[in-house]
Assembly symmetry: C2
Homo-oligomer: 208 residues x 2
């Protein structure tokens, strides 16, 4: 960050504000106008950075992706390959959807509902980011398989599907009902999901 | 339906169109204007039925609730109390979210995301309807417990939570990725969820 020019710094601050607006009002609610209000920048100043509303929305999605990588994926990659990393990915994901920086929940999950039936660049971007994340989870599960920590007959795609469902319901219950138990329940259910696929004792990688 | 007056029939047809608009554009996208366009009724005609946009939105939510009861709950109640009914509830729910009458997916799940951070009558109505449905599911699970088909140590709230997660991820994958395998995967995962809680052999209710 320290090497950014003034213009880049401004753009970065605008995008951070954009992610917060998208979390609260949805990507649909993210307009040059609503962002001007939230960021205290002038509309004309914002237009100088983003030529169109769609360009702004796409840039905010991309900024969300960067933040997600920073907050969810990178710290999890510090955990050893295997179940520990899978657990960290899931926990960080839950934390992300509840973080103070996202006052209205995960903007990606919101955008998935908003744009699922509106063909175009935004829908494509949302679908691509969500697939990317599913692929990261799948890679993590395969890592745990290769470490011999999960049973060889584990259906990777199904495990990721179930994982995704747990995160979605936790997000739904927390956001709609203000259910504070949803977080712990999600962690418990995820732990049970892992336990069902654990090998009795981890094998040595060399033994495979 | 045959006993409805002309005015009631018109209102009912308007609300059906409103449910379809809400499915496609979200409850946020449901306005007197967008409904006039979809239903080929005049704006002034619609205003005669609904004094305000919020009144229209609330009436459409209520209509969605009636349709849900008709399509999901009532047919399931024809199944015997127990696992068969739980299975029917879940299958009908999945079918509902994919039905041709809901071109943009389940309007309740959409509304849950739209209104989760907008306090007011709409958010309250959405939360109430979703809680009502969760309570129906919980009642169905307790029925299966009382029939001795599920183990006595079954955590009813957790089972409903997991059930909800499976439906949410199926909806998400189907809507966003056009994933046609999501339906069968959801049924399989739900069946495994039930299997984990099944008693070895159903007990006689009298034995409890």
């Amino acid at each position: 960050m320290e090497r950014l020019s003034k213009g880049e710094k401004t753009r970065s601050a605008i995008l951070d504000a954009g992610v917060r607006v998208a979390s609260r009002l949805g990507l649909e609610g993210l307009t040059i106008g609503s962002l001007a209000e939230a960021s205290e920048l002038s509309k004309s100043g914002l237009f100088a950075h983003f030529g169109s509303r769609e360009e702004l929305q796409l840039a905010v999605l991309e900024r969300g992706r960067e933040k997600f990588a920073e907050v969810v994926i990178k710290p999890a990659l510090k955990q050893p390959r295997g179940v520990a990393r899978l657990r960290a990915m899931f926990e960080n994901w839950l934390d992300w959807t509840e973080s103070a920086e996202l006052p209205g929940g995960c903007p990606m999950l919101g955008a998935a509902i908003e744009f699922d039936d509106q063909p175009g660049p935004l829908r494509d971007a949302v679908a691509r980011l969500q697939r990317e994340w599913m692929e990261s989870l799948a890679r993590t599960v395969r890592g745990a398989l290769e470490q011999g920590e999960l049973r060889a007959d584990t259906d990777v795609e199904q495990l990721v599907f179930e994982c995704f469902g747990i995160a979605l319901v936790a997000h739904h219950h927390r956001r709609l009902f203000g259910d504070r138990k949803a977080h712990q329940r999600a962690l418990d259910v995820h732990e049970q999901l892992i336990a069902r696929h654990r090998t009795a004792a981890p094998r040595q990688p060399a033994a495979r």
